[in-house]
Symmetry: D2
Subunit: 287 residues, 4 copies
Amino acid sequence: MNNGPTAILLMHCPDQKGLVAEVTDFLQRNDGNIISLDQHVDRSAGRFFMRVEWELNGFRVPADKIDEYFGTLIGQKYQMEWQVHRSDRKPRMAVFVSKMSHCLYDILQRYVSGEWGVEVPVIVSNHENLRYIAERFDIPFEVFPITKANKKEQEAREIELMRQLDIDFIVLARYMQILSDDFVSAFPYRVINIHHSFLPAFKGAKPYHSAFSRGVKVIGATSHYVTADLDEGPIIEQDVRRISHRDTVKDLIRIGKDLEKVVLARAIWLEIQRKILPYQNKTIVFD
Amino acid sequence: MNNGPTAILLMHCPDQKGLVAEVTDFLQRNDGNIISLDQHVDRSAGRFFMRVEWELNGFRVPADKIDEYFGTLIGQKYQMEWQVHRSDRKPRMAVFVSKMSHCLYDILQRYVSGEWGVEVPVIVSNHENLRYIAERFDIPFEVFPITKANKKEQEAREIELMRQLDIDFIVLARYMQILSDDFVSAFPYRVINIHHSFLPAFKGAKPYHSAFSRGVKVIGATSHYVTADLDEGPIIEQDVRRISHRDTVKDLIRIGKDLEKVVLARAIWLEIQRKILPYQNKTIVFD
Amino acid sequence: MNNGPTAILLMHCPDQKGLVAEVTDFLQRNDGNIISLDQHVDRSAGRFFMRVEWELNGFRVPADKIDEYFGTLIGQKYQMEWQVHRSDRKPRMAVFVSKMSHCLYDILQRYVSGEWGVEVPVIVSNHENLRYIAERFDIPFEVFPITKANKKEQEAREIELMRQLDIDFIVLARYMQILSDDFVSAFPYRVINIHHSFLPAFKGAKPYHSAFSRGVKVIGATSHYVTADLDEGPIIEQDVRRISHRDTVKDLIRIGKDLEKVVLARAIWLEIQRKILPYQNKTIVFD
Amino acid sequence: MNNGPTAILLMHCPDQKGLVAEVTDFLQRNDGNIISLDQHVDRSAGRFFMRVEWELNGFRVPADKIDEYFGTLIGQKYQMEWQVHRSDRKPRMAVFVSKMSHCLYDILQRYVSGEWGVEVPVIVSNHENLRYIAERFDIPFEVFPITKANKKEQEAREIELMRQLDIDFIVLARYMQILSDDFVSAFPYRVINIHHSFLPAFKGAKPYHSAFSRGVKVIGATSHYVTADLDEGPIIEQDVRRISHRDTVKDLIRIGKDLEKVVLARAIWLEIQRKILPYQNKTIVFD
């Protein structure tokens, strides 16, 4: 059983022969013991994707040199885009909230109980409402009230805070503000949102009301990376639950909260484990 | 255990006090033993819905007079819309197909094995392709090739055939023709379609291709009554299945077929049992 | 839209003609406006079950006399077992925990956010571990350490506390103690447990380890009333999630926690709304 | 897009460093273009599992020599157990049935519509009942009536038939006979059964009756390889569907048939694609 630290390589490049052999040979020659390897070829896009994880103990390339060596020896040769992560450095996650508490409590319970290997250095909000929860969990709570007039300026302050705190990714836990393109482009594929519908159905505001009006028999929730197009970012995870004519809009909201919590939590879990590889408007999820 | 024939009353009307008491009192006074009773109030619409089933044996109103007596004594008084059905008369179902066989085989297997109490007097198609299946099951197969030029005329002949055969409802088992408004209005809430997506997502043609392009993590199928607005009719049943980035469009089509079969079969089963009460663009499903 | 207080009648009795008419006539004569009515006949057991909810405003029998009047006029005549509840009196729920926090946090978040119309006057545990959570939520936390030697005595104190606090039902939120028959019989059909498997598979201890050993492709959770037979009580709700060969026991435990939370929460929600009618080793769930 | 024939290697062996590199290097040196590669390490068992598929076109080792070369160069060195398959040879599947038709129709519809790349040279039964279906699909139907007295002899004739027809695997499509240990050991991990419950719950006969008696809220079906221990073989696939107190045993049987069909079909699909690697009492499913 491996318990030591590991390195994780996520990469994609134009598909060609010998890519798996090239990478595994690099690891093998340098005494890297592979823990898991998963690859995928998107034939319609002609693109190759891979995630490989190996033990750092005994690996001959120093942990802080892996990125450089891999790039020099392999990455550039094949026009790869790649990231190298280390399991012994916990990702740092910021949580953005507005007034609803269900996702926040769910995230914090997982965080404090040690379910996730993650740091939460800050909770950000546009309202004071949930400060008491942050205080109960002893996590700094920063409020940036957003108006049309101050949005640009407040977002700039938020971006600055994210950089100061060395945040790896941001979770919008029912944050009821639309992020500007500037904000989004500062964190490409690094902002995870939970939308309370089964996308692409019921985009935009009040999806439970729309689901009720349409008379659907199943409702859903979707976690996705935030991109410039609202509700159009790469989907990470979705789930659904059956409803019936007996369920009012209020029931849909109640039932939907459970979906939102779990679908968002699964996306965060995948992100923490570096199992998601976004490409254009889709994700490869190596689960 | 009841094995005798039953009567089924489906009704809806403006909500008001005493409706359940009124109907059950009518049955009680006439020695009608209730097998099941289910009601629903849509508070936003202010409307009352009920399905009640009782034994015909011992009921003092003759079976063919129930509709009249109920209307005279109760229905008109409360501005009800109602239908009375009898379990000892099997509904007559026509199946419309084009070229794909999976839903047709599934329906016919259920029909011949006695799973459903239904008659299938005819299979209709716009192509010859599936005639051999109809022949294997000894069911008449009628072909009405449809072109832009002859659509009106051919549909008129189809309507005529439906009337001759005393068809109660029509199932579009992947029938790849859009029915005209004239056809639809001849069979209000009596044509059931299977759409190969999770409506309202991916309306129209090629939903599996759209689902693949969008990168969803779950696909679905929807059975619904056909109305003048394509893919907008009242939804009867929906179901979904998880997919992943590994699944190609071809995989989605294969996986989706299983959803289509079972979601359509469940809708037919509900229709046979008279458990669906459509109202405006929704259904009350008394399951 | 009704927002006033309601009365809820839950009843069962030997099946016979006219039961629905009898009850609805009683409500109708006394100006009780029915909000919802749901009935069920178990033909194999020859038993009739019903839940009916009506508005208290305008009802001619005083709220505190309904039980007496109903019994005198109808209940005794038909050998019914019945309960009358009022929506304007919140049920009082005690939560029993041991060392795991996920279900407790989930319950408390729902409680404090107002999702549930319930009172939680006390959290009981056999360990000190989770006291800090109770304190964060300002709920009294009572510890009764249980040993073989003191079990009888400690349980007697717990029963006494439940009575003092006028507790309606008890939720075992991963309470890792087996309750004695004496305790169980003091609260018949009033103790709800969450078992971390899909019963009747994997009864008893360490179900996730057993599921892993057996190589199942789906795991589950079950909420049920506690009876003298361990893990054999009437099942209220179950749900499942797919797993794969990649999931270790640790993964099953993590995934399972999400199932436990939501399956227990759904059972509590049904209990709060008085929608569960247990009979022998089964439940009728009027949802 | 690859459309040419492929080779598929399935293997497992004691876990050690360098296994992926060794195999991919072998393919790379011989110009084998990898289509997909999936591996798994069972850390508790210390065992490595892999499935790799590559194009035969251009591969320097002749297709009929791959097994020999791989064994000599790699397999024996690492104490591997391995199989090599070719996509241009369709697997040959025998279907065993008794009296129920739903799984048989479902299998045959998929077969004749070309959904599966498989040959079905024979349907075997212990009864004449379903011969008419085999005839409709023009597939030989062989009846071997089984009694206590003749079981050994009849099974010997069945085994002989399987060998004559060069059968790769056998599907028990609700075949209501228990196979003897002799039969099972003649086809190790090559007989797929569908059990109409969510194993390990409700093993043995009449699982729907047992599920009804226990009052479960979800029923299931399980496909598994047949081993000497009844209902204890490695599980390939499982699925479930919600039920309620309204569903009688007859309803469970009807609902369950849909589960049986689809769960069995998924297992067959995985088998045809050589995606299942059984090991002891579990399966690795490379989907």
